[in-house]
């Protein structure tokens, strides 16, 4: 690989995605519907919920191809940089590629410009990426992310939901995406209070994913046998922190106990 150099009028500036395009490294868009002939691996339910200290983000671990479970341990929640995270649903391949490009975009900007983008700027960048992906989405490779972060300028957590055309919508209490989104967001809506603590928010998010997996076959539930749990992360003033599996296991055991109690022993 040689050092990239450009004429002044063609210089991509701090935009890594533009640099990738200029170097001819972006994939070609398929010219006919891909999903008509091939089974595409899909990732499913992700949620993000705001609380006073920041944001909790979570996603289940299942990927499906049609009615098959193709992966049990896929990850759909990623750190975007120190103070933000991105969660994805949709065609798994292009979605993970989009996340990689987005992570690099933020880091590249920070290095070239010597200062990080604002949270708003990051949200807009992701919006452009989803918009640029529209031709591929039209061929059956849709990707719909959620972006969440801690806005250090405002000292508050913020959430952004997207649609397949790149539409960017800031949400105030919660955001969700994927096939289980309806069930998950209903649970969150019923349980959400402005006064929730970090702990309570995490439990609410886990309960929401549990209920989504109970109703939607494409969403994976907690797998106590194999020790597979959703990816859950908090994003606060101290940054993106992922919860460990032991913690999640304990929380899920208590949720399952709670569900059993609610049923009052009826089977």
């Amino acid at each position: 690989m040689t050092l990239p150099s450009f004429r002044l009028s063609e210089d991509p500036g701090p935009d890594f995605a533009a640099l990738v395009r200029r170097m001819g490294l972006s994939p070609a868009v398929p010219d006919s519907p891909v999903d008509a002939r091939l089974t595409i691996t899909h990732g499913t339910t992700c949620v993000a919920v705001r609380y006073s200290g920041g944001v909790v983000m979570a996603g289940d671990r299942r990927a499906t191809s049609g009615n098959f479970i193709s992966h049990r341990t896929i990850e759909k929640v990623f750190p975007a940089d120190r103070h933000s995270g991105v969660a994805i649903a949709g065609a798994a391949g292009p979605a993970i590629e989009m996340v990689r490009l987005f992570q690099l975009q933020l880091e590249h900007y920070e290095k070239v410009e010597g200062a990080p983008l604002s949270l708003e700027g990051k949200a807009n960048q992701l919006s452009q990426m989803v918009r640029n992906h529209l031709p591929a989405a039209m061929q059956g490779l849709a990707v719909v992310p959620i972006f969440a972060g801690f806005d250090t300028a405002r000292a508050a957590g913020r959430l952004f939901q997207y649609d397949v055309t790149g539409g960017r919508y800031e949400e105030f209490d919660h955001a969700s995406t994927g096939s289980g989104q309806m069930h998950a967001s209903t649970v969150i809506k019923m349980g959400w209070r402005g006064t929730l603590s970090a702990d309570e928010t995490i439990d609410l998010v886990l309960r929401a994913l549990y209920e989504a997996s109970d109703e939607d076959s494409a969403t994976g539930g907690p797998d106590l046998l194999r020790g597979i749990f959703p990816v859950v992360a908090t994003i606060t003033s101290s940054g993106f922190e992922r919860l460990d599996d032991e913690d999640l296991e304990a929380r899920y055991l208590s949720i399952l106990g709670q569900v059993a109690t609610e049923r009052g022993g009826s089977r």
Partner: protein, 233 residues
């Protein structure tokens, strides 16, 4: 029509080299050296905004002296090269040696083929997983690539600064010792440097994935303030 004067190639190269050296000597110097936990980069730089030292990749830093716009252009090309390489292959495949070679090629090309050579001297530093893996690549205006061990000096008066560095620097010393040696070497016996005139950054072996970190003024003062006569804090 008159024929152009014949200039011997030796003379032409000599003139270009003199031109580049003069340009570089006008700016202020910088020093890089290893210490027990990483690599220290320390530059004399009165500007807070126009940096001489910066991050290229997870374990790679860049420093340049001479003409700011020229080395900044090289810095950005380096960030692009590294990020593209990491994107196409993997983060582990990005290394300082290949980047230093690219820089050497580019500077050599410009030196022989363009109207004017670049008036810069640059450094590509990479932190290893242990001190044996630490690398310092020093690249001159004509594309000469030098693989330095322990420490290196870039810019005008490199010889004087280098001999002071030779006396003061100890292998495997602490961060404080390394910083003290670097600042003393840059200042020399007859001059004092204030903290706002030096730019300090490290590649920290024990740090997170991105090992590059700027050292804030307070931390520099904490090291130098107590026992140094050359520094007015």
């Amino acid at each position: 029509m008159t024929a152009p004067f014949y200039v011997a190639p030796e003379q032409m190269m000599q003139d270009r080299a003199d031109y580049a050296r003069k340009g570089i000597a006008r700016g202020r110097a910088m020093v890089a050296c290893t210490y027990d936990q990483g690599i220290l980069l320390c530059a004399e730089n009165p500007s807070r905004m126009l940096r001489k030292i910066s991050e290229i990749y997870d374990r790679i830093a860049f420093a340049g002296v001479g003409k700011y716009n020229e080395f900044d252009q090289l810095r950005i090309a380096g960030v692009r090269h590294a990020d593209l390489k990491g994107f196409s292959f993997s983060r582990e495949d990005v290394d300082a040696r290949s980047l230093a070679n690219q820089y050497a090629q580019m500077l050599g090309q410009v030196f022989t083929h363009e109207m004017k050579p670049m008036e810069v001297e640059i450094l590509v530093a990479e932190i290893g997983h242990d001190s044996v893996g630490d690398q310092l690549f020093h690249i001159l205006y004509d594309g000469t690539l030098i693989d330095e061990t322990g420490w290196c000096v870039l810019g005008g008066e490199a010889e004087a600064i280098g001999s002071r560095m030779q006396e003061q620097w100890v292998e495997g010393g602490t961060f404080a010792e390394a910083l003290q040696a670097a600042v003393d070497a840059l200042a020399g016996p007859d001059r004092s440097l204030v903290v706002s005139e030096i730019e300090v950054a490290v590649l920290d072996r024990a740090g997170p994935r991105r090992a590059f970190r700027r050292v804030e003024d307070e931390d520099v003062t904490a090291v130098l303030g107590s026992n140094d006569t050359n520094i007015d804090t």
